[in-house]
Assembly symmetry: D3
Homo-oligomer: 131 residues x 6
């Protein structure tokens, strides 16, 4: 069963993050907290993101909205914006969500998130132009 | 033009909130800050929620996720969960989003949001059974 | 010297809070953490609020703005809104500050603060009508 | 393996919370999100709190400090203060930790936490006097 | 009417920010979210900051206090500290407000804000010495 | 008496921070807010950390937990992780506390704290190897 959680987590994680950003965050935990890295895979991606009843694309929008509103996790917002593009959200749709966060978390939170999106879109264009 | 913002705002607001909860929050501002109540209609609903490029149903999911993660706006989360049901999200889909917020804002934030959802679902069932 | 801090703190505290609300918060600490209650008087009011270079009325505006933006201290916001009225801020000026906080902390924070202000203004009118 | 996580989680949870408060929070999830309730048991208590290298009493102090500083989870702080007493922390030690949080999260956060502790100590005295 | 909001917003914005910092933040939105940049001008500066009943200098103090307490918007705090100097607040008055925020948001928030103020004062001295 | 607060504060501060990090934060306040630097010494370390009823080692764990959960004070978390090592906490114990914070403040908060701990452990190893 444990093995299934890990397998399922790795599989779901790859659907979202097989691109820039997030692996770097998790890989840095390798020496200091390897068990925690595995917990992120097993719990966050194996238990939560892999659940039925809500598609992965909708889940990704929810995560982007939450991270933008919280305004304290730029590395994770960056990784999940890459994931959102990978799962089919259009750039303009993501810009709309980030603008909307100004209503609930203030203008600075929305501005910070838009500046991170700007970086992500530039990295994404650069990846695609080198394919 | 101003008139258009107000009209558009009132129209969009009615698509989300013509139900329990939120009007109460805004109506209480009538005597102390009537201009602010109008700004919520004009800016939040007329300028932001009415924009093209992202459908209202997706916008509502983003708001529910953000308010759950912020864990400091129970009245607004309640109103927007009612709005999310009205716009077609299923109860189980909303439960999934709220559970997922535990990853970014901790377990207490997710638990508080789920307890609010429980109230909303009960109110919603009661409304529907009286139709 | 210690004695001076306490005296100065008590004197400054009385300029702000000799009215509804805040004493209740501090008095409740009497049995569980009496030293902490004294620290609030000595440090917050004796060391900080009593400093020269900025008048008490301006300090009070800053506190009201911060507590509204933080959106997690309703008891203290209530007490300091009473204090702001006592120090000469007009109701409409305080409403303006609270509305402005929507820009930095989102609409729910501003709405919550305005609803607290509504209570404070009602309590204040009731006190004045009984004088 | 899964079964072990659940067993281990239930066992650790009982060491902390076999008393007032927290069960109530989790039991309320029974109908709306029963899987989430199980995840709290399995992940929070089975995976994290059950790990070696740090004793449960120290873990409990860390949780009380964090919940007091975050100032947005009164139900959980209440449950974990009960747990802290159960695990051997003295009332005065807990008061000290909560006072200290004023340095990192401001005076209102510390005051709110102390008022919750006051309730917990009263409930705890009442439980013990009825044994 | 719309045109008036924009004109009024641009005019008020220039009273606060015709100096270092903030334009940079807003200019960076030009390509990714030009409408949002205009909304900041129209709503934040045209609708809110331009309202009567509270003078711009007092509004600026409130913003500095809130951004310092929130401790998550260094770019905006920097821009608004420049604005506060431009509107006539003295350096020592601003230092007092930032110190006071330790009471409501903890010492780290106040220290971070003071370090940003230090940068702003140095930039401001450098601008003035080159006039 | 005042003198005693300062002496006691300096003495307690040296038990925690006579090492990397924190002095740098406080020393930078020398020119802009020297009184505030003294207040940190007198109030935080002289009044709070020096109190009896809770040992300094336990206090340090509480601070590390709170700063990790708040996820907005990296400089202070770094300084207090150095302090925690100095007071006898083992690296693995601190890793456990930081992992645990994921439950109350989300995974990003725990990951950020672990990456800061990684820097602290490397600096600490480097200091010890040069003794």
């Amino acid at each position: 069963m444990e093995k299934n959680r890990s397998k399922r987590g790795a599989k779901t994680l790859a659907k979202i993050h097989a691109s820039w950003g997030s692996p770097k965050v998790l890989t840095q935990l390798d020496d200091i907290a390897p068990d925690f890295k595995n917990m992120v895979r097993d719990f966050a991606f194996g238990d939560i993101y892999s659940r039925p009843n809500l598609d992965l694309k909708s889940r990704q929008l929810a995560t982007v909205a939450a991270l933008a509103a919280l305004n304290n996790s730029p590395l994770e917002l960056k990784a999940h914006l890459h994931g959102a593009l990978k799962l089919g959200w259009k750039k303009q749709e993501l810009v709309e969500v980030l603008m909307q966060m100004s209503l609930y978390a203030g203008f600075p939170a929305a501005i910070h998130a838009l500046l991170i999106a700007k970086e992500v879109f530039a990295e994404n264009a650069s990846i695609n132009s080198h394919k």
